[in-house]
């Protein structure tokens, strides 16, 4: 049985301000979900809460990943369990090369499995990097550059996908991966995600726009408003949203509220 990410009645505050107000969602390995919503609806808060950002305070609810409640776990522990988040704004780490960083990330996993592990041998690591960079049509010099330092928007997002390819997560959250990308970059990044997709990977694509869903085809679409998922459905829902905007959902919400 595959791993699942189960979010149950999740309430989250940032600086005592409630942002998420009861989110329920299940993403299983092999599934592709899209989470859409306007700015400020709580999408990025959800992504960062799932990954374990210290600034987000969980006031109620559970996050069950692969059968374990991960709320008390640090981001690195969640990552080693197989959770991944592609950042909306990847952070530059000057002086640390992409290759060195990824070797550290791989070795942290190996060390968890076997505390005596001496780390991935350099030739094996080099081979892995080249294989993944080729798959994503990336220049091999990429590994020698400082992580996200001076990267263009497209390069940053591609570096995120490279990390995902190397780390082989069970569930990946793509936080607004399409933001700031031109159409070519969007296509390349989406193709990368599609190549990684399969029965071993569950994906939650968080997005503001429908456009990335032309490339990454979700089976499930959810819509978030004001810190709750207010509508779930199939791919049609995204198209409907594209035509109608969010207003019909707001009205529907208000209608419910008045009754």
């Amino acid at each position: 049985m595959g791993a699942a990410l189960e979010i149950r009645n999740l309430h989250v505050s940032v600086e005592d301000q409630p942002i998420l107000r009861g989110v329920d969602l299940i993403v299983k390995q092999g599934e592709v979900h899209a989470l859409m919503g306007p700015n400020g609806s709580g999408k990025s808060t959800l992504a960062n809460t799932l990954m374990g950002h210290p600034a987000y305070e969980i006031t109620a609810g559970q996050i069950i990943f692969d059968g374990v409640d991960v709320i008390e776990l640090e981001p690195d522990e969640r990552s080693r369990m197989g959770l991944f988040m592609a950042f909306q704004y990847p952070v530059a780490i000057p002086g640390v090369t992409v290759a060195n960083f990824l070797r550290n990330a791989i070795n942290a996993r190996r060390k968890e499995e076997n505390p005596e592990d001496k780390g991935i041998p350099i030739p094996a690591f080099r081979k892995l990097m080249i294989e993944k960079m080729d798959m994503l049509q990336m220049d091999h010099s990429f590994g020698g550059r400082y992580l996200n330092d001076g990267f263009s928007g497209g390069e940053k997002k591609r570096a995120e996908i490279l990390q995902m390819a190397v780390l082989e997560p069970k569930i990946a959250i793509m936080d607004e991966t399409d933001s700031g990308l031109d159409i070519d970059a969007l296509r390349i990044v989406s193709e990368g995600v599609n190549r990684l997709s399969g029965p071993e990977l569950g994906v939650l694509v968080i997005t503001h726009y429908q456009r990335i869903l032309n490339y990454i085809k979700p089976q499930f679409v959810h819509i978030m408003l004001d810190g709750r998922i207010v509508e779930s459905g199939g791919p049609d829902l995204a198209l409907h949203l594209e035509e109608q905007g969010y207003d019909w959902l707001r009205e529907k919400q208000n209608g419910n509220g008045e009754r």
């Binding site: 690195d76 950042f87 952070v91 000057p94 550290n104 780390l167």
Partner: protein, 447 residues
């Protein structure tokens, strides 16, 4: 109301005397000129007050807790051996080869080797006392005459009077030395050592030189009063790396100064890791037109360590370029001060001076003071500076942790990356690796 009595500790001098100078000079049967030089420096030393926090360059450096009874007594030779020096420091700098290695345990030379190719080129690389005997004209010409001078301060005068050991490196005119040279001062006991480095790279010559200050860990206080003099001739080129990894009870007071003649180049890197209290004045004088000087520093104090690095870039001639980058990481309750000054004399037109100091704090109790300064008397110059102090960025750690890297390893990556621009300026790979290892042990609290 009860009155609380405060014990007012004084800025006291070490319990050294003129007789110490005389007996030191006598013990080594030093030439008259040297003994006289020492004695006149002693008179100067005695006439100067101990620096206090009332003196501007010492304002932030309070050394009143030093126990001079222990730290101020000269060591008697006790048969230290080269093998006492840690093996990793004894290794050759590049693969199996190096131009020379000169090692001291406490104040005694214990190892001296010079590669045949250097001897052939006429390079002198020996201990300063031997040099004073064998090459008196060269040593006399340069020893505390135009780089550091006895009158530069109380501790400069003390070193001039009582230097216990030293290195003399001389590269003759036009000789480009390929293999780097290396010297080590290794202190094994509490007490006072006063080390001196005198480097003269003559016109058109070039060399790479690494010096290391190390000590064992012991509880009682020790002091190192140091002077470093770097003299770079016309069209000459010196790359100098100075690493310090003292034990935790060492107080260092040092004056270090370079003079660079026309079109000469000096690339100077310092790494500061150990010690209890470090007060170092580091100065570059660009004396000749077209000269170039770069100063790079990294420092990483933790626990109660205190480091005060005072740098000065003096543009004394036109078309000179200086570039300074000092980067510090501070952990626990450590404290650092960097105070930097760029000066340009009235005639120093078309000069370009730059200084940057960046500090990363690992914790709320660490503190770094960063004080840049410019004093420009020429009107056609470009002088700029940048200074920054901030906590390690949580967003960086979160990002790295989100890829499975545990927090302490994420910190190490961020710190290593922070130091990379300075580490990249160290021309010896195994020294870079050693610096990274120091950094790691510091982060883990293992030192």
């Amino acid at each position: 109301m009860a009155t609380r009595r405060r014990v007012a500790r004084e800025f006291t001098a070490p319990p050294l005397t003129r007789a110490d100078v005389e007996s030191l000079s006598e013990r080594y049967n030093e030439p008259d000129w040297l003994r006289e030089m020492r004695l006149s420096a002693w008179d100067l030393y005695e006439s100067l007050p101990m620096p206090t926090t009332q003196d501007e360059p010492w304002r932030r450096t309070d050394y009143r807790h030093i126990d001079w009874d222990s730290a101020g007594s000269l060591l008697a030779p006790n048969g230290g051996k080269f093998e006492d020096v840690p093996a990793e420091n004894r290794q050759p700098l590049l693969g199996q080869e190096q131009g020379g290695l000169l090692a001291f345990v406490d104040d005694q030379p214990v190892h001296h080797e010079v590669h045949a190719s250097l001897a052939q080129q006429g390079v002198i690389f020996t201990d300063l006392r031997t040099a004073a005997r064998e090459h008196p004209e060269l040593v006399q010409k340069h020893l505390m005459t135009h780089a550091v001078k006895a009158e530069d301060g109380k501790f400069a005068a003390l070193n001039a009077a009582l230097w216990t050991h030293g290195v003399f490196l001389y590269v003759p005119r036009g000789k480009a030395v390929e293999l780097p040279v290396h010297s080590i001062f290794y202190t094994t006991r509490p007490g006072a050592t006063l080390g001196h480095l005198l480097v003269v790279v003559d016109e058109g010559a070039q060399i790479d030189y690494l010096h290391e200050n190390l000590s064992l860990s012991f509880d009682d206080h020790a002091s190192f009063v140091g002077v470093t003099e770097l003299i770079v001739g016309r069209d000459a080129n010196l790359r100098f790396v100075n690493l310090q990894d003292w034990g935790r009870s060492m107080f260092e007071f040092s004056h270090q100064r370079a003079r660079v003649d026309a079109n000469g180049q000096l690339d100077w890197v310092t790494g500061q890791m150990g010690g209890k209290l470090i007060k170092a004045f580091m100065e570059i004088d660009l004396d000749g037109a077209g000269s170039w000087g770069r100063m790079s520093g990294l420092y990483f104090p933790d626990r109660q360590q205190f480091m005060d690095l005072d740098t000065q870039q003096n543009h004394n001639a036109p078309h000179t370029t200086s570039d300074l980058l000092f980067k510090g990481v501070l952990k626990d309750q450590a404290r650092s001060v960097w105070q930097g000054m760029i000066k340009a004399l009235p005639g120093a037109q078309k000069t370009d001076g730059f200084q940057a100091n960046r500090n990363m704090l690992l914790g709320r109790k660490a503190r770094a003071d960063s004080i840049p300064g410019l004093e420009i008397q020429a009107d056609d110059v470009r002088c700029t500076h940048a200074a920054a102090v901030g906590q390690i960025e949580e967003e960086m750690l979160y990002y790295l942790m989100s890829r499975g890297i545990p927090r302490h390893e994420a910190e190490k990556l961020v710190v290593d990356g922070f130091f990379v621009p300075v580490l990249d300026r160290i021309p010896f790979e195994n020294v870079r690796d050693r610096m990274m290892a120091y950094v790691e042990r510091k982060l883990l609290g293992e030192l």
